[in-house]
């Protein structure tokens, strides 16, 4: 379980300040922010939550940050119950080291939720397992529909450049088509945390891919 003081928390920046400091992907993060649809039921649940502080570890190059941080930010803005501060991953090793994925990987984003007495009440790391599984399944479907892409497990560097470019386009299309479902999963996980129903406390020990991603 992570520890955080008010003084340390207040060293983080607001979401808007984080966006102002981005060197890339600002258009993508704002598009994802605008694209999110929050149901009345979800919004009511977040608005009815006790006030919480949320420490977010992020970086502007990370796809999962670009996808999931704007979801949290929209919820924080529209609910008024979440006090969000963002910390750049590589400039805040003391925080990152408390939230290593499987105890080893610097996966981001990390969203750590604290009550008014700075007790940690839940943690979200990287993305929900349901999103990983959904995208893995859809990825397999892309390969099955395009024999020219070869095996989904084969290194892509062996593909001719034009085929590789088409594969990249198909994967991007797949990600776009699954964004709405992925956002729903993220909202569901965040709602579970604020309602005290989260299983994410043990997420840091969960199994993942060899080597992990977002690890440096």
């Amino acid at each position: 379980m992570g520890t955080l003081t008010r003084e340390r928390f207040e060293q983080g920046v607001t979401y808007d300040a984080f966006k102002d400091a981005m060197t890339r992907n600002r258009e993508r993060i704002e598009a994802n922010e605008a694209r999110l649809t929050l149901s009345a039921d979800d919004l009511a649940a977040f608005r009815g939550s006790r006030p919480l502080h949320v420490m977010a570890l992020a970086a502007d190059w990370c796809g999962d940050v670009i996808a999931n941080l704007p979801v949290l930010a929209r919820i924080a803005k529209e609910s008024g119950t979440l006090d969000l501060r963002v910390f750049e991953r590589d400039q805040n090793a003391d925080l990152m080291d408390q939230y290593l994925n499987q105890g080893a990987h610097k996966s981001i984003p990390v969203f750590a939720f604290f009550d008014q007495d700075w007790n940690e009440v839940g943690v979200f790391i990287e993305r929900p397992d349901g999103v990983t599984e959904l995208r893995a399944r859809k990825r397999r479907e892309v390969f099955a529909a395009h024999p020219e892409f070869g095996s989904p497990d084969a290194p892509v560097d062996q593909l001719p450049e034009d085929v590789r470019a088409r594969l990249q386009q198909e994967l991007q299309k797949m990600r776009d088509e699954t964004t709405e479902r992925a956002n729903s999963e993220v909202v569901r996980e965040l709602r579970a945390i604020v309602e005290g129903r989260s299983t994410w406390g043990g997420a840091r020990q969960r199994e993942g891919t060899a080597g992990g991603s977002k690890t440096a």
Partner: protein, 100 residues
Amino acid sequence: MGRRPTEGRDGRRVQDRLSPPLKVRITYCAECGYEPQTLELAGALMREFGDRLASIEIIPWEDGTFDVRVGDRLVHSMRRDGGFPEPDSIKTAVREALAL
């Protein structure tokens, strides 16, 4: 003093320069921010082997990829082997491929 017949102007053995062109290809996950590790490895190979390598190709990809291919051989795959390779292990693979 003249060069020995087996040496080029740079003193390197002519046989080295006659080895088949060897390509190294690094495929890395751009959305994971693996640029530092990619550049570190590419730089280490450039410094160590110079023009003994025909090319070092860098391919930005996704999916948590960090693959290194030396010639036809995939000598490191993050998915298969986990983590990043030690530059020394890649140098060893290149030396073997160059028969140095």
